[in-house]
Structure formats: structure tokens, C-alpha cells
Amino acid sequence: MESERSVVIAPEALDDLIGALRRRGFRVLGPTVRDGAIVYDELDSASELPIGVTDRQEPGSYRLEERDDEARFGYAVGPHSWKRFLFPPRITLWRAKAENGGRKIEEEPPNETQLAFIGVRSCELSAIAIQDRVFIGGKFVDRDYAARRDGAFLLAVNCGEPGANCFCASMDAGPRVRDPYDLALTEMLDGEHRFLVEVGSERGADVLAELPSVPASQSDVASALAVTNDAAARMTKAMPQVDLHALLAGSLEHPRWDDVASRCLSCTNCTLVCPTCFCSSVEDTSDLAGVETARERVWDSCFSLDYSYIHGGSIRASSRSRYRQWLTHKLGTWVDQFGTAGCVGCGRCITWCPVGIDITEEVAALSKQEEKSHAATA
């Protein structure tokens, strides 16, 4: 923690912060309450933040509750993640128009509005870093993602309120932010309600300079650190600490897949809420005369039957093979493909699974029986 550059701001300064970003031309996106959930949407002012609201999460359940304070970021994570702005659920890739016996193909112009994300958790910064590797870190670059990602302002918030399904600490993805950010807040509710602000970039410092602030004292810095330390200590869930890549690679015929298949509905929820899942499909549209056509890209899920369809049938016809694909990819083969695992321990897939399937429990089951079979052969 760079205490010499840290300052303290009051909750009211968040409004100035949003104003400063809007004046710079950013489209400011952040958490707000809608339809019983904390979602990410455009913010005009800090009064739209989920003030005094927390989320109570269990496997297969999520509900909002009132807090007995005025915390702005006193919740874990909701059904949305920033991926919906960097990798939107539906975009147009290009349009083509028949003219003079030819066809004029025009790429959809890339998004030019600069995005500012308010309240990015550590796990979410890690998730963005993972999607960066997928979309812009390889041989082929997704230009739409690159345009949205380029210059996005990241206002991180250290996590003080882990949900019952969070396990970021065991994935080395939180609760304290570490990946690059512009500004990082820690909300302190002990004593006077205030935020410690750490600066991660020059433009972050620039924005901060417009806000009323005081230098952070030693005790401010200490209580900020206590916030994330407490959060880590209160986190009840953990991913089993085993070599996940090896475990998954060695579990392809594990009986547990039949067990989870008997519960999984293949509803695709887990992949839609996951901040790293990146699979997509394409759809073509045409006007009646076929003069104007367009190609759109939409989110897809490895849980759908069509996902692996080739002439003659789907490769993964059973839900056993589809859950196996999801989990094995997430924690194992993602590393082979992109040099990093695909899970940050945000717990969304557990919360939003209608039958409460818990990724950490599934891994524990795979690793326990693995130990057993090792013991048997030893």
C-alpha cells in the first residue's frame, strides 16, 4: 500500500468523483439496485449507489437486505459483471448491402465511448485480466473488446463484505485489489464513515485532485488494511488447495460427473453470470429481399446442446459431458489455452445456479475420491 499517496475522502465526495469522470467524457457505470438485485448500470450521481443495502447469498439464493449503516459498497457481487460492457451480450459485427451486383460489407464501427467502472472488486479485476488474455492477448484480437477495454477507467473497491459463496482468497484473486487500477477505494465504517483512496495511475491522480480530500493518517491506513484482512478471515468458502489442472485432467471419467449431471439442468445460468466465460455464437439476419444482411455475435454457453453440434449430432450430447466441459475448462484446460485459470472465486455460479451446484464442492468431491484411489493403489 502506497501510504504516501493515499488520501481519505468523505462519502459525499463520491458524487464529485462521478462528476469528474463524466466531465472527462466517460460513460460512468456502477452498482445500483434494480428488481431486487444489485446490478451494474449507468450512474448519473452517487445517490444511485446501493446505499445501506447488502446482499445475502446462499447456493441457489440471493436476496437484498437493509444494513444498519450507510455503506455504499456493503455487498459482495450481484448477477452482473463488467463483462456485459466489455463483451456485451449482443453486438453487430458487420452489415452488408447488395449494390451494383456486388456487396458492400461494412464493419460495425468500434465503440468510442470511454467507459468508467465504479466499484470493481478484486475478483472482477482478475476476471477482466483473464478476458484480456482471451480477447486481446493471443494471436487474434477481438477488435470490439479491444476498443471497449482500451482506456476504460477502473475505480476498484476493496472488499469488506464477502458473500457466503465467495472464495476469492483461495483463488488468489482477492479480497484486496492487486491488478492494475486507476483508483482503489477502501470503505471504512469504523468511526467516521470514510474512504481511503489509493492511486494506481496518473489519470487516477488527476481525477482525485478534483475531490476534497485529506492525507491518510497511519491509523486510516491500518483500518483500511483491517477491512480486507477481516474480509479474508470471514470468507467461509474455499477452493480445495490441490493442483487443479492435474486434478481435472485426471478426472475425465470420474463417477462424480454422473452425480452432478443428475442435478444440473443445463440452464446455462452459471456461464452467463460468470465474469470470465467468453463463449459466443453468431446469428445472421436479413431483410425480406436479402438486400441488407447483418451478422451479430451473441453470448453462448457450453451447456447448450447446439454448442458442440456438427453434422450428425452434438459432440457433447449428455449433460454429464457438458458439466465436465465447463468445470474442466474453467479450472484446467483454460490454463493450456490461455496461460491462466478461468475462475476468480466470485461465487456467482453458485448463487445463480437454480439447484445450488457449488463449484468448490464438486472439486472437493473429485479430489477426495482421487485421494481414495491413490490410497488404494499405494
Binding site: 458487420w94 452488408a96 453468431v282 451478422r295 457450453c302
Partner: protein
Amino acid sequence: MATATPSELHPVGAFVPLPFRVAERRQDTGDTWTLTLEPEESGFAVEPGQFAMVHVFGVGEVPISVSGPPERPGDPIVLTVRAVGAVSGAICASELGALLGLRGPCGNSWPIAEATAGDVVVVAGGIGLAPLRPVVLHTLAQRDSYGAVSVLYGARTPADLLYTDQLEEWRSTIAVDVTVDAAEPPWKGKVGVVPKLVATAEFRPEAVTAFVCGPEVMMHFTVQALRERGVPDERIMLSLERDMRCGIGLCGHCQLGPTLVCRDGPVYSQADVGALLGVREL
């Protein structure tokens, strides 16, 4: 192995196809057509084994191997397509002069340079001969660079055989052995599945590279037959088919365990993917 660089693949944008016009059209079999496509503006060079994402405006886009590769970016591209569904059907139905959109070159290529000086055995089932045709053409053009070259080819019935005139032409320079699963007179050729042809093909197991493409069961039995003759897994090359929506490693659909078939394949050695192909529904 040759791989496409982004600049080759993205003259406009990663997802934007280049317009090509149907310049020639030939029906090969009841359900298969070979199209010669001329680039409208600019095209791209393709190495044997690479494929293109072929777009029918307003219908959809599917991966199709290049069966006659252009050597220079302006050259025409030849595709051989079997009509099995909406998009492949629309490609086959494209009239002379029709416009199609192509993105490419996608994927890696057959390691034909590495096979130089050794023997070559090409084993194809059905439409699988299309991606292998460039290998055959290459060995014909560079006949002195290779030892024994043979093509083992199987189709369901005599009427399903592709490139029948060319098979005859090839016979004058290399060995061509053809079989069909089922036939009635006047067929005088072999009846049986392609892997059976491996046992009698002329090649030195220690010096051969096998290039194999066809339905996965056919490839499975071909690998077994090649192994029985002592061909090492490292020199048994397979071209795989998976669902592909983007062709450039971004959509996730073509995963086969640790690899993305459109990005890391479609050509793999049996040593690399044999174990993966053995896992059901992977």
C-alpha cells in the same frame, strides 16, 4: 507448422469477410459440389490443410477446407463442399457469379515440408479427400522430393467418389487405391472400408508420414492399421472437425480438451490428440 498471422487474416477486421465470386461450379456427386472462387478485391494465400470461414449472406458461415489452394493472395480458391445442412447447402446452391464472403486462412497446415524425402500415405474417407487434395497436388508437383506416395480413398458407394477423373490422372504418377463400402455391378473395384487398404499400401513404416482425414471412426481404425504397420504416432497426422463459429480461437466452440481446433489445429498428430479422441464426448 505454418500459421496464419493476424495481418493475413484481417485485411478488414477479424470478423469481416472478403467478397469472392463463384467463377466455376462443378457437381462432383449427388450432394457435393466443387466451386472455384475469385476474389473481388483481394484474397489470401492458403497452405495445404488450412480452411476458410465461408459466409453465405443472410444465411450463415461455416468452416470449409481449401481443396485447391491459391499460392498468391490474388489467386482463386477452390472449395469442395458437401451439402448437409443450411449453410453448406446454400454454398453448394450458389450460382455462377454469386457472391460469397470468405475469411482466412484459418488454422494450421499439413506438415508436408517435414515429410520431404520420406514416403507419404494419404488416407481419406468421403469428403475428407477435400482437405487432402492439396497434399496430393503438392507431392505431384514435387514428385522428386518424396519417396513412395499413395492415396487410399474410400466412399460409401461408387457414386459418392470425388474427383474421379483426377484419381485416374494421379494414378500415372503415384499409387491410388480406392474402395467403397457398398457397390453393385458394374463396379469392379474394391468393396470394404478404407482402413483395410493400409495393410497393403506401399510405404516404409519408419520413413512414412500419414495424412488422414475422414469421419472420426474411420480415422480411429486407420490409426490402428497404421500402428499395426509400425508407423509412429508422431507421424500420423489427422485433420479434425469441430463446431466453429469464429475460426480464430475466440468463440470457444471448437474445444477439444486443452486445444482449440480452429487455432491450434485442425491438423494434429495422433501423438498429440490420440488420448483426447479416446475420451467419449470430450
